[in-house]
């Protein structure tokens, strides 16, 4: 391992952004808050092209949402003067919140996706300094039938296909999973098999409250979805979904993570039902599968036996460590946990922060800030 290698952990909360750094992922140095009192629902750490850029979607309840970035590990921040994400005038729409920031693959440097409220996808080709509205999804004929989940109406997951750049999946609450096979010009719903038990017809073409989607590390046509009620896998790019909830203590949850290199290795954090939305019996655990969700193993070492706080969809992440991948998450109670051994044990990075909304981690090289 590079002696200078360290891991940066970005923690977006209801009232500010914290950054943590570690060289062993056991002992962490926490700094912050950056953007004190501002909501940070989305963060990303872009390490492509040998650079490290931290992006944050910051929401100021008075002065509006914006994208900021730092190229020096948080020592200084920049904000495009004209605004990185804004709706074109003809839409007569104002950006409400940036829910998701997603750098594309290493083969597409500069490309960053954003999922936003109201329901929309934006794409940047200059590392997040300027984004363009995806018109295909914005003008979609289903738009008037999409709804709002409890947190608002937004695209919260964007999964660009690792092999075919024309294929992109986006998920929204509520509306479900949509797929484009022409680079985002057009989108089709892909929800067959995903339950929407809050409708009279529980398996509609669209309208599902999918909470998060991600792709398998080795098979880009294999997708995973943590739904409002149900956990699913698709082996055909979303054409059909099948339950992989057997072995989990609950079907509800927000988080779903996939290993960056090893196919079939995935994690979720089940929560008890839509009515309670907290760890089952108060026991906060991560569940790991190494066979694409066919079986699950509880990971609880280092985690509390009594914790009644949910983990939200973007408040969990894996890093890209070349040895043992790290697993990270934060709770609405303001605790942040890190594992440097793929979830086998966790350490506490932070306690009593504001509600954790977004977490991302990445290994970087070179001197600290």
């Amino acid at each position: 391992m590079d002696n200078d290698a360290r891991t940066i952990l970005a923690i977006g909360t209801k009232k500010g952004l914290w950054l943590a750094e570690s060289t062993d992922r056991e002992n962490w140095n926490l700094t912050g808050p950056h953007f004190a009192n501002l909501e940070v629902p989305s963060v990303a750490i872009d390490t492509r092209d040998g650079k490290t850029r931290i992006l944050a979607g910051v929401n100021d309840w008075h002065w509006g949402p914006t994208v900021v970035y730092s190229d020096d590990a948080g020592a200084t921040w920049s904000e495009p003067e004209q605004g990185a994400i804004k709706f074109p005038a003809d839409t007569d729409t104002a950006l409400a919140r940036i829910w998701h920031l997603r750098p594309d693959t290493a083969e597409r440097p500069g490309v960053v996706w954003a999922g936003c409220e109201p329901i929309s996808v934006f794409k940047s080709t200059d590392s997040g300094e300027n984004f363009e509205l995806n018109r295909g999804l914005w003008d979609h004929p289903h738009r008037s039938e999409w709804g709002a989940g409890f947190g608002g109406a937004a695209v919260h997951s964007i999964v660009p296909n690792a092999v075919d750049e024309n294929v992109v999946h986006a998920a929204m609450s509520t509306g479900g999973v949509y797929r484009s096979t022409d680079g985002g010009n057009s989108w089709e719903p892909r929800n067959k098999g995903i339950k929407a038990d809050f409708f009279p017809e529980p398996f509609p073409e669209f309208g599902q409250c999918v909470h998060h989607i991600t792709a398998d590390a080795e098979n880009p046509d294999r997708l995973y979805a943590q739904n409002h009620g149900g956990v699913y896998r698709s082996d055909d790019s979303g054409d059909e979904w099948n339950s992989i909830a057997d072995g989990l203590p609950a079907e509800f949850g927000f988080v779903f993570l996939s290993h960056p290199r090893t196919g079939g290795s995935v994690w979720t954090i089940p929560l008890k039902g839509a009515e309670e939305r907290n760890p089952v019996g108060g026991r906060l655990s991560v569940f790991h599968s190494t066979d694409a969700g066919d079986t699950w193993n509880e990971q609880h070492a280092g985690l509390p036996d009594a914790d009644w706080n949910a983990v939200l969809r973007d408040a969990a992440a894996v890093d890209d460590h070349p040895g043992s991948v790290g697993v990270y998450f934060g709770t609405r109670g303001g605790e942040v946990f890190a594992s440097n051994d793929e979830g086998a044990h966790f350490v506490t990075v932070a306690q009593r922060l504001p509600d954790v909304l977004s977490v991302r981690a990445a290994q970087v090289n070179g001197a600290g800030k």
Partner: protein, 95 residues
């Protein structure tokens, strides 16, 4: 030409080259919207803080002409007359 005084909270000063009080020429249309248009053109970040992409004053931002909130007047079309000042403040919303 008549100048109007525009005052902003400290949190917006960085978007106006550090100024919290500016003298702004009264625009031809003599409205709050005209004043904000001119300021937004010169200071885009300030413009984005106060108004959204549609040009509307953000929900938790208040703009006063003298003692009156423009929401109780004619909104961005509210007239500003010689001797009056425009005050921009954040609301008390929050928790």
């Amino acid at each position: 030409m008549t100048d109007i005084t525009v005052e902003v909270p400290s949190v917006l000063a960085s978007t106006l080259e550090g100024q919290r009080s500016l003298q702004v020429p009264l625009p031809e249309d003599g409205t709050v919207g005209g004043i904000l248009d001119a300021l937004g053109e010169k200071y885009p970040l300030f413009g984005r803080r106060v108004r959204d992409e549609r040009g509307e004053v953000r929900r938790f931002v208040n703009v006063f002409v003298g003692p009156d909130n423009i929401r109780t007047l004619d909104g961005l079309g509210s007239p500003v007359r010689e001797g009056q000042s425009v005050l921009i403040m954040q609301s008390v919303a929050g928790g």
